[in-house]
């Protein structure tokens, strides 16, 4: 099961096509629409989570692109600005998954991104604002 949160941009023309339901009909994908808006100049923006096999997901996204839809990855990740982190440990109070933890006896604060659930609690708890939330920069299929 492969799942990603996507942002779709439809130009004034594509907004009339039933592209999302076609993802289900042709590619066996399921979707959960988080947000859909049509803007004054008829262009549309949709945020949806798309799930299915990785192969189908890839084909589905290609289908969207062929229809003229601009597809962006909406998934976010938490990163740490290593220059700003002073290794105090305040963040470890709130991190629910122990992605932020103290390495003993060195007393360094380690950040294991694999354990991070992107809850964002560390962002405002960090004293030096070293933790940031940002869109995942990697391309969709890597």
């Amino acid at each position: 099961m492969y799942s990603k949160l996507l942002i779709l941009h439809f130009s004034g023309k594509e907004v009339e096509k039933p592209v999302v339901s076609n993802l289900t009909r042709y590619y066996d994908l399921s979707f959960n629409i988080h947000k859909a808006t049509i803007l004054p100049r008829r262009e549309g923006i949709m945020v949806l989570e798309l799930s299915g096999s990785k192969k189908n997901f890839k084909s589905g996204v290609q289908y969207l692109k062929d229809q003229g839809v601009i597809v962006k990855n909406a998934s976010q990740e938490v990163t740490r600005d290593e220059k700003k982190c002073i290794h105090c440990g305040a963040c470890t109070a709130v991190c629910p998954t122990h992605a932020l933890a103290i390495k003993r006896p060195e007393m360094f604060v380690i950040f294991d991104k694999k354990k991070c659930s992107v809850c964002e609690l560390c962002i405002r708890t960090c004293l030096t604002r070293a933790m940031k939330i940002q869109p995942i920069s990697e391309t969709l299929f890597e």
């Binding site: 002073i86 105090c88 440990g89 305040a90 109070a93 003993r104 007393m107 360094f108 004293l127 030096t128």
Partner: protein, 389 residues
């Protein structure tokens, strides 16, 4: 008969520093040296022990002289990047406090407030070489006719900038828990309900005043590492309380001694003077500080051998007791237990959370060691030491 078997003077130690023969170790290294050699052997061998701390200290700020301009001005209101500084001083002097928030900050109106920018951040930005927007107002006098001033300044443009922390290096502090049913946001960090975490702030066995518990070597004129530059202890700090109850080894069991420190900001480095934002509480400044302790005799050797197991810390409830001024503690743990990551509290395992960077404190202790060994950083003999009570 001499009181001690080993007797060294500041002058003897400073001569050794100048000749390069000085033996300097960190307070952590000293623990094993005293175990191996005993206090007398350690005192013979070691001349200086370096101690350090790097943690938020709210009682921080900077005296800044912005320099005169033409026409002249007697500033009565001053802002740096929209953070107000106190200007009720001579014409272009002001004091920028670390906890002063930016003027348009929503504070705690949106709970808990983020406090993303304040006085501490201005001091850091100046050190980082950034331009800071200076705004000043005045009512105008014959000698100082200008009523308004607005310009971008860098640290180099300021005539003087002196870090002045009325309180630093707190000798011991509380371990904070929250016994209420809701998360609270304090200067001791975020505290989860029902004692979900226990927060503490100290560098423990590396902390300056734990290594000289009766202030036998620390006082006015003690030369220190301050924010990456050279600074001085200039007084006992605010809330200095030497008469706190102590253990047999002299370690106070509650918050006790403090020091007042000053130093030239122009010598400092941005990585050791960092503006911080404490969620729901406010702005502050983390200041790196390192204090060299001269091993004048075996007694000082013994004091500097203090280890985390020797240091008790009281557990205080910040949910109900602290805000209501209830002086109560829920027992003691040691810094060794706190640093281990988990304490037993009310029959439950409670994760511990530090706010003081021990890894950075270790770095400072090493830098100070290097300064003394290689750069001839000599010891300042205090004119008088801190009050012992």
């Amino acid at each position: 008969m001499a009181k001690f078997k080993v007797n060294k003077t500041y002058k003897e130690i400073n001569d050794k520093i100048r000749s390069g023969d000085v033996v300097v170790v960190t307070a952590e290294e000293m623990i094993d040296i005293v175990k191996d050699k005993g206090p007398v052997g350690a005192a013979k061998h070691v001349d200086v022990v370096t101690t350090a701390t790097f943690a938020p200290m709210c009682s921080s700020g900077a005296f800044i002289n912005i320099g005169q301009s033409v026409p002249t001005i007697k500033t009565s209101k001053v802002w740096f990047n929209n953070v107000p500084a106190y200007a009720g001083l001579a014409a272009v002097d002001c004091y920028l406090g670390a906890t002063e928030p930016c003027e348009d900050d929503p504070l705690n109106k949106v709970w808990p407030g983020e406090f993303n920018y304040g006085g501490g951040h201005v001091i850091h930005d100046l050190l980082a070489g950034k331009k800071v927007h200076l705004k000043a107002k005045s009512y105008g006098t014959s000698c100082y006719p200008n009523k308004e001033l607005e310009k971008d300044v860098k640290l180099a443009d300021l005539r003087q900038a002196t870090l002045c922390n009325p309180r630093n290096g707190y000798q011991n502090y509380n371990c904070a828990v929250n016994l209420t049913g809701k998360t609270i946001y304090t200067y001791m960090g975020t505290l989860k309900p029902k004692a979900g975490n226990a927060n503490y702030s100290t560098s423990g066995q590396l902390s300056p005043l734990f290594n000289d518990p009766y202030y036998k070597t620390i006082g006015l004129g003690t030369r220190i590492f301050l924010g990456g530059g050279e600074g001085y202890v200039t007084w006992h700090g605010t809330q200095h309380n030497p008469s706190a109850e102590r253990t047999e080894k002299g370690i106070p069991k509650t918050p006790a001694g403090t020091i007042w420190v000053m130093g030239d900001i122009k010598q400092m480095k941005p990585e050791w003077v960092v503006g911080v934002s404490i969620l729901g509480y406010g702005n502050s400044l983390a200041v790196g500080m390192g204090v060299p302790i001269p091993i004048l005799n075996e007694e000082m050797a013994q004091f500097t051998a203090v280890s985390d197991e020797d240091i008790p810390v009281q557990i205080v409830d910040y949910g109900n007791d602290y805000p209501n001024g209830i002086n109560k503690n829920y027992g003691y743990v040691t810094y060794d237990e706190l640093k281990g990551g988990m304490i037993r509290f009310k029959g439950k395992d409670t994760p511990t959370v530090p706010l003081s960077s021990v890894s950075k404190a270790r770095e400072i202790a090493e830098i100070l060691k290097k300064w003394i060994k290689q750069e001839k950083f000599t010891l300042g003999e205090p004119q008088f030491t801190l009050p012992v009570g």
